[in-house]
């Protein structure tokens, strides 16, 4: 199949040690947090991979590594069969950046309040030298704004004149300016109200269809993920614990953590389905549990889970990292 993005054994550690003097005086060791701990996946052209997980599981770090905002500690990201880290260091960096763009969570922080919408949306165009003529630039910006459901006259306004949902559309228009193939969306609708979230999700789906976009969609909301994605990866403490097609993961979740997440969703239809109560909290990522990092919260954990870290195994198209599933215990 036509793979656009491929991630191999990606690792990112952050140094969170105390300052040098404290380390010397108080004899504290260096401390590193494994934000992303060896994850691999691939995204096919024109599809959406969603990464879900609770805060601190490393999903946003993955997003930043993919677009090259941060350099990985180890592992590789391939985009269209070329290594991102190498390409960004070469002369083709600009061409690569043009092909992938990012949409951020907070539409209030990601737009410059002193710039008019025109400047914001036109910046990628002028920066990459795609459009130089002023009249053409204006026409192009108007076109982009219309494609996300805003009016071209809106380009003369400042960001504060728009509501949250409209601002997020401006962010999308800016991301689309360079006609990218791949969009990384880091919680694009978490800051929005539900009725506005529906508008933004509909626009994103329409754009994917008309432009053949590929999305990496980061979210903690499983209902939103179910609506937008083709493949779903569930992350826990820096690792992918389950990676499966959407239909599969929601109909037959394998990993106990995926089951727990699905059980935790409030039941809006009030069907009265039986739910196992959710237990425990996400451990401190500075001192993750031994073996499978989910074992302290897992109802199926045994001695092996406490000692041995499970590898991500493939079972007919579904990848699961769980001893209990591999042994057929659940």
């Amino acid at each position: 199949m036509n793979v656009l993005v491929e991630v191999r054994d990606l690792v990112k550690t952050f140094d969170v040690s105390a300052p040098w003097l404290n380390r010397v005086i108080e004899r504290k060791p260096r401390q590193r947090v494994h934000a992303v701990d060896g994850i691999s996946f691939s995204i096919e052209r024109g599809t959406t991979l969603a990464l879900v997980g609770e805060s601190g599981c490393g999903k946003s770090t993955v997003a930043r590594l993919l677009v090259g905002l941060q350099a990985p500690t180890a592992g590789e990201v391939h985009f269209g069969h070329r290594n991102i880290a190498l390409t960004l260091a070469s002369q083709d960096a600009a061409a690569l950046r043009r092909r992938m763009q990012m949409i951020f969570q907070d539409p209030f922080a990601s737009l410059n309040p002193r710039w008019k919408v025109h400047q914001i949306v036109a910046e990628p165009l002028t920066e990459h030298g795609l459009v130089t003529d002023r009249a053409q630039l204006k026409a192009k910006v108007g076109e982009l704004l219309q494609s996300v459901g805003l009016a071209s006259v809106d380009m003369e306004k400042f960001p504060h004149q728009f509501s949250g949902g409209q601002r997020q559309r401006i962010s999308i228009a800016r991301a689309l300016a360079t006609e990218p193939e791949f969009l990384v969306c880091d919680e694009p609708t978490s800051a929005l109200d539900v009725s506005v979230q529906a508008q933004v999700l509909n626009i994103m789906k329409d754009l994917q269809r008309s432009r053949g976009l590929t999305y990496l969609f980061i979210s903690h909301n499983l209902a939103v993920v179910r609506h937008v994605s083709d493949q779903v990866g569930v992350m826990y403490l820096g690792r992918v614990v389950e990676l499966a097609p959407k239909a599969e993961i929601f109909a037959r979740p394998r990993h106990p953590y995926t089951r727990m997440l699905l059980d935790a969703i409030p039941d809006i239809a009030m069907s009265g389905r039986a739910r196992t109560p959710v237990q425990g909290e996400v451990p401190n990522p500075l001192s993750p549990p031994s073996g499978c990092s989910f074992h302290p919260r897992c109802p199926h954990a045994n001695e092996r889970c406490r000692v041995e870290r499970p590898a991500l195994l493939s079972l007919n198209g579904i990848q699961v990292a769980c001893h209990a599933v591999a042994e057929g215990r659940i």
Partner: protein
């Protein structure tokens, strides 16, 4: 049974230099003893403000400009500061969104609990401490005897919210106003806190006014729900009826825009536009510019809550006294 809390025609205003903003207009509802009333709406609908007005904690220059709030028959909207202070905690408890800012970081959890208990109940120090430990145990904090002497920063987000719930229950209040108690928490913790809140309030016989933007939380928890839009109650009724057979077009739109877990839809139902700002609330029904079923009368006259099946909705569609309206004219 007489209502525990009655809110009648409540109006809250914010005087500003450019004129008075009416943030809440003609809001009426009541809460029976032991009942859980959900208040739902998008940001800016006035749901938190309603809660703040009830517990007498409106931020100046906001003020109650009309209507009345009665608690057990007694008016509490114009109580002197000291009397209102005694009311809060003893009769009306409060839980806020961010558990970190509702606890004092300089005092141990135990000291804050003991202080609250002694302020409202005639207990000596040892007994108050015992009650504090019991409360922490009830809210599911492990090793409560040891953790009572820890500071808020030593607790995780979910544990802090448990402490806040213990604080709210400390004076044995008959009513708890919970303002987005789970919004700052991860999904798996959210489910725990919601079921805890529901169980404890039942055990203590406390009624709850649960303010949230999450319809799922409402569906799981509440007996009745009030949907707010632009400072007014758009619809109020039993939660089952409001969710499955919404009578107000806004409620219907809100429900349709939530991605569902059990139905596959290519596009979400969306309500175009955004909620009006307080200084630009349209004439007639505030929802009329976004309403798919708008007709002439909606642009002229403001609807009051009208009986609509099992619920009551502020919508002219349900006015049986008026001549039948043929279709929706736009």
């Amino acid at each position: 049974m007489p209502a525990l809390l009655e809110v009648k025609n409540l109006r809250v205003e914010f005087p500003t230099r450019r004129g008075t903003l009416v943030a809440l207009d003609d809001v009426s509802f009541d809460i029976s003893p032991g009942e859980i009333l959900g208040v739902v709406g998008e940001s800016g609908a006035g749901k938190s403000l309603t809660g703040a007005a009830i517990i007498g904690l409106l931020d100046p220059p906001g003020r109650v400009a009309g209507g009345e709030i009665r608690f057990q028959g007694q008016r509490i909207d114009a109580l002197p500061y000291e009397q209102m202070r005694r009311m809060r905690g003893k009769h009306i408890g409060a839980i806020f969104q961010d558990p970190l800012t509702s606890l004092n970081p300089l005092f141990t959890v135990g000291r804050q609990l003991v202080e609250t208990i002694q302020a409202h109940l005639p207990l000596d120090a040892a007994k108050a401490r015992q009650r504090a430990i019991d409360l922490l145990k009830e809210t599911g904090i492990p090793a409560a005897e040891a953790r009572i002497d820890q500071y808020p920063h030593q607790f995780s987000g979910g544990m802090r919210q448990r402490v806040v719930i213990a604080l709210a229950l400390a004076g044995n209040p008959q009513l708890i106003v919970a303002d987005e108690p789970t919004t700052a928490l991860d999904v798996s913790i959210q489910a725990q806190i919601i079921s805890l809140l529901k169980r404890l309030c039942k055990e203590h016989g406390a009624a709850v006014m649960l303010v949230t933007h999450d319809m799922g939380v409402i569906a799981e928890t509440c007996d009745r729900v009030a949907v707010m839009y632009a400072g007014r109650v758009a619809e109020i009724g039993p939660v089952n009826d409001v969710i499955h057979a919404p009578a107000h077009p806004y409620t219907a739109g809100l429900m349709g825009s939530i991605p569902a877990m059990d139905v596959d839809r290519e596009r979400l139902l969306q309500i175009d536009g955004a909620m009006p700002r307080l200084n630009a609330i349209p004439r007639g029904c505030a929802f009329n510019p976004r309403c798919p079923k708008v007709f002439e009368r909606c642009r002229e006259q403001r609807p009051d809550l009208l009986a609509a099946g099992a619920t009551r909705a502020a919508c002219w569609l349900h006015d049986t006294s008026a001549p039948a309206v043929v279709g929706g004219t736009r």
